[in-house]
Subunit: 146 residues, 6 copies
């Protein structure tokens, strides 16, 4: 078993604001991140899969197949976007990086079977998202119901 982690940078903006909280509560809970005009980040997304390398090619999987899965299922919807305005999931959820990690993990899990069809012995393991160089959110793929 080998685990491969690929790292993808993406830039996006968000505003942290919970519709169920008052203005005062939002301000207290989210501080500067509640700024009504939003702000943004250069996130780094790390996706891990594991399995056994193919005995002929020595590859766990084709790199372009991995990239296509991540691009199609989630990066195309995140990259250069405003998370609040442009992602359906964040119409009801606050786009904290905790929730973003769950949304990304869910999207990748749902697209897994399409991108890596039956017969593959790979496992989708984990998602990590760096919001800045000093904080990191991670979710195990099995936490998400597929």
């Amino acid at each position: 078993m080998t685990r491969l982690t690929q790292r993808y940078p993406f830039s996006a903006s968000h505003r942290l604001h919970a519709t169920q909280l008052s203005e005062e509560e939002n301000c207290r809970v989210f501080g500067k991140c509640n700024n009504p005009h939003g702000h943004g980040h250069n996130y780094f997304l790390e996706v891990s899969v594991s399995g056994e390398a193919d005995p002929v090619t020595g590859l766990l999987l084709q790199r372009d197949q991995f990239d296509s899965w991540v691009e199609k299922e989630i990066l195309a919807r995140l990259s250069y976007r405003n998370l609040n305005e442009e992602m359906e999931e964040f119409q009801t959820l606050v786009p904290t990086t905790e929730n973003l990690a769950a949304v990304v993990t869910g999207a990748l899990a749902r697209g897994w079977a399409d991108s890596f069809p039956n017969g593959t012995k790979l496992r989708f393991d984990r998602v990590r998202i760096y919001e800045t160089r000093n904080n990191l959110f991670e979710m195990e793929a099995h936490e998400i119901q597929q």
Copy 2:
């Protein structure tokens, strides 16, 4: 003469859109960065000053004086902000990082005399802004009329 460069991270969002161009032209010129909902970055601002270290303290300047100058003149207006919506300068300028470097350099230059009053032999040298880990914009302070 010693040059000191201090690095400050800040997160902000922007949209690249020139009011003098048509929608089609904006789309062609700015691509994904023209997305009407904006996107964002973790920028790094590097500010350089030079001069001679004080013979008694061995310091070019007090670190907190440097931080106060940068915070007051520019970071307070950039950090966790939407550059298009919340900075007066970007009501008429497109918030590209080229223009951002000029705005930052100008603001630091205008506040220089206040923060480092007469008698100081320091010189404000240069501003660098990293938009991502792969691109960097820099402006020499003397390019700006103070």
Copy 3:
């Protein structure tokens, strides 16, 4: 379940010297790190907690609550300090980064209940300390008796 890791830089000095060993043994075991005058590092401390994000705010915890816990329980005692001279724990323990990781994990574990009082479903998971960019020590929180 999401895991959040926050990274905190701190600078400190130490000397590696075991009182139970002879000068010769100390020299052989610790090499340059046994230098009687000490030396220092820019350490990075990474602290991980996990749990479920709050359904309203989308946050695992308040960021300032996390920072306060780490600052109060341990950073205030480490930052800009001489570990041998200024930390009670290192009157009897050699301040290797192995022992430092255990001390940090213990301090954070003991302060956990105060900072995150009953009712919270969070778990304190792990401490990582980078001594340099090339070595890293980690300890699982459950290894420490709280």
Copy 4:
């Protein structure tokens, strides 16, 4: 229990080419990496061991003992080498980083008992190899039969 991870950079070249595949298949599977003249990387190898710090010295192990183990068992054969031409293992295996991680883990596991003779309570845990700053392969040591 503490886990120590040490990071070692090394530069090497390789060509990805499976002798059991046709030219067309090799080209399709490996793309540019099938270039007959090869290419290269600055890899980073991270090796993790865990155990209890010695109560007298506060060390998990002697750093030079760790470095010697890694240098002798594997770095001496990798550093500044052409993996295809100069490593016996890659006469039959394709030198993908998946296979490289397995070869490194196997070599370190085989040399473990020599470098850390009986009596030690240390455990060799894991190997990680970064091929670039954006991808990473890891293998748990217990996956390898020693």
Copy 5:
């Protein structure tokens, strides 16, 4: 005047060997880098241009125009290549990073007028190549006769 620096990673292999020197001299001068089978690196190429941002778009130049220039003139010939075997320039020159910096600077200078035709007020300033994270070679563009 603003200066923009863009960073491009590329992987390549090389062997340091001077045909005018004996085997012994090559070994003494280049050490491990003289290994007949070659080795490789993940290089980072940084290219700097300067000029005035366009008053309408706020851009120094179109990013895709910059990328095309660098890709066409040099990256296409470097990326995933063996510098000794696949670059005409290194049939007579030793592919040290000193020489590589000169070759890259020359190629970019020769292609400059094609990619940025008359009328542009931009200037091609500088090339930097990182061979590893610990060494860096730079050449000013005006050093090269265009």
Copy 6:
């Protein structure tokens, strides 16, 4: 002309305290860095030289000659040291990184002729010292009288 910059990490400790100032003034000027027990850093030293690559070898200079110069003239006195206690220069100077940059530049300049004897067309250009990842001090070699 090519410029080569090599980067060297070193760990050291220091205390910022000016003997000509009162305790109160020292405390005000240096803050936490005046802690009587000292603290430390993982510094990075970057040294730049420039000249023309040798037409036969393609090298600006022998790498080991560069390393020996830096090691002998300065690193041997800095690495794993307490700057206040163990460096003669800091018996009278405060070991700020401003002064450290001047001391390093002076030492490298004085040793230059020994390490690169007559005939060489190289020039020692610049010293940079990173105290942390967020601040950097640099000095041009010609500022120092050799």
